[in-house]
Amino acid sequence: MKQHLLSVRDLKVYFRGRDTVARAVDGVSFDIRKGETVCLVGESGCGKTVSALTILDLIPKPPGEVMAGRVLFKGTDLLGLTEPEMRKIRGKQIAMVFQEPLTSLNPVFTIGDQIREAILVHEPVSPDELNRRCIRLLRDVGIPSPEERLKDYPHQLSGGQRQRVMIAMALACGPDLVIADEPTTALDVTVQAQILNLMQSIQESSEMSVLYITHDLGVVANIADRVYVMYAGIIVEQGTTEEIFSSPGHPYTKGLLASLPSRSRRGEQLHSIPGTVPNPAYKPSGCPFHPRCPTAVDACKVRFPEMIDHGAGHLSRCPVVKQ
């Protein structure tokens, strides 16, 4: 068994409102091993992005606040670091790719400026070397004629190319972990596939770990080694990709899987889970999923479910569903 690169333990991140507290992340634990791709899956609003931003200490404070938990990266707790120490981690050891490539790139600087800057903060490099590295990075992420693209502004590139630039920027200092927050959601389906292939090939060649955040189970099936399913700020199920897809242990996972279009169920009506993710300031009592759950019993409304071990690293938070 490989060493844990990152372990998040019992993380709680709350957002203070005027007279409410939104418990966006409410006790989340997960591990990422070296060279592994881990997916965090869930509907929008369930706390995936907040968990990811907390790792790099990027949530806006106030109103955000880390209430409890640890984020252990190579053995040190990132939450205990000072701001200058944290800056040495960001970009250098843990890098991030965001959802919207258009708004995530600064419109008034060239692509070259923005990549060069990402290298220069962490490593003093000579101008020639810097230029060579930028060009190599762009070539690695599959951008044609990188020498010229360096002088382009973000608006001159297509959506897929922008996301490639974001990935190049994330890879600039050879990080150990890349957090990708729905990097393909804003892109066309064909471009999505290209970006996914790119991420996979880069990962294979560089022994890098990836935390991939998505709501798209199709993507998960393609790239993930292990999966964590999040709902309303907690992990409801975790396990290897095969386990999760073949024998889901939580009704929420089942619902997600059932809502995937499938060739074997052609002609049937597509399934959907009724309702929406609860407002993080007004979560239901007991199991947070019980109002939407088809198998809920009375006990679900009062008792918060514990993780049940199904063996081989497959755990789920539902006492009702039996394997």
Binding site: E83, T103, N106, P107
Partner: protein, 319 residues
């Protein structure tokens, strides 16, 4: 690019034409005889009045008067009804007087409001931000003339320096340094007064622009790269927040005339604003119309310049 310039020049010329017509109509259709330059003057006999009307084409129909007026304006032959001096020469002389006031005021405004606004955006909600916000509202709300009197009382009673006028009368014999200080004092107080409102408004605007930009995704990206906060704020955020201010740069010019009327009349500063005020009092139509025309030209030139500047600084806009 060329077609953009050509199009906006044509458009602005048409606008200017309409402005000239509207201002001419406003002045000539308003009740009151333009020939009553000085009805109390006993030397103004009916014969003189008639000659006056003849000389300034006042007996002709409006459109002819309009043509006469703007022909004179463009050939530079236009004269004041009050003292028969060339209007353009008068305006130039007053413009040179107003210029130092305007330059110092503008410099103060632009150099002070940016640091203040940026700082209060970065530390928003803090003590600094809240006190600056309140101070800004106070300065926006205070009537300029009232503030002027407070400052005059303060300066005159505590520092014992004279501030009214452009210089103290009868100082010609004193030393060079003394005269310089005298000029500086006379210039400083009206400039500060002229700048306060601008500083308050502009710093609020800088603050809101900065806040807007700080919430953008690319600022988060910059942080995620591990950049130090100074680079995040002053390079990535500020550069974007500055874009709209480029357009305001072009709009400084018209301020030469508009805002200075009250301050120049309090401080007896013989500038453009005061001249315009005196012209209005005396119903000296050529001066009113010329000042109006020049300020319209300045506004249009200003918007043109700011459009061009925007093209230069924002890489997203290409023609």
């Amino acid at each position: 690019m060329l077609s953009f310039i050509a199009r906006s020049i044509i458009q602005k010329t048409i606008t200017l034409f309409f402005v000239s017509v509207v201002s001419f109509l406003i002045i000539h259709l308003a009740p009151g005889e333009p020939s009553q330059v000085d009805p109390l003057n006993p030397k103004f006999t009916p014969e003189m009045l008639e000659r006056f009307r003849q000389e300034f084409h006042l007996n002709e129909p409006l459109y002819a008067q309009y043509i006469h007026f703007y022909k004179d304006l463009f050939t530079g032959r236009i004269v004041s009804w009050k003292d028969n001096r060339s209007v353009l020469a008068k305006i130039w002389e007053r413009f040179l007087n107003s210029l130092p006031l305007f330059v110092v005021g503008t410099l103060l405004t632009w150099t002070l409001s940016f640091p203040v606004g940026i700082r209060s955006a970065i530390y928003r909600g803090g003590l600094y931000d809240r006190s600056v916000t309140f101070l800004a509202y106070l300065l926006i709300s205070i009537p300029g003339f009232f503030f002027a009197y407070i400052l005059i009382i303060l300066v005159v009673t505590t520092l014992h320096v004279p501030v009214i006028g452009m210089e103290t009368f009868g100082l010609d014999t004193s030393s060079w340094g003394c005269m310089l200080m005298d000029r500086v004092w006379h210039l400083l107080i009206p400039s500060i007064l002229g700048a306060t409102g601008g500083i308050a408004v502009l710093s609020r605007y800088v603050r809101s622009q900065m806040l807007e930009v700080e919430g953008q995704d690319y600022v988060r990206t910059a942080k995620a790269k591990g950049l130090p906060p100074d680079v995040v704020h002053y390079k990535h955020a500020l550069r974007n927040a500055l874009l709209p201010f480029v357009t305001m740069f072009g709009l400084i010019l018209p301020g030469l005339i508009g805002g200075s009327v009250i301050i120049e009349s309090i401080f007896s500063w013989p500038g453009m604003g005061r001249m315009a005020y005196e012209a209005i009092l005396a119903r000296d139509y050529p001066i009113i119309l010329t000042v109006n025309f020049i300020s319209a030209v300045l506004v249009l030139a200003g918007t043109f310049v700011s459009d061009l500047l925007y093209l230069v600084v924002d890489p997203r806009i290409r023609l």
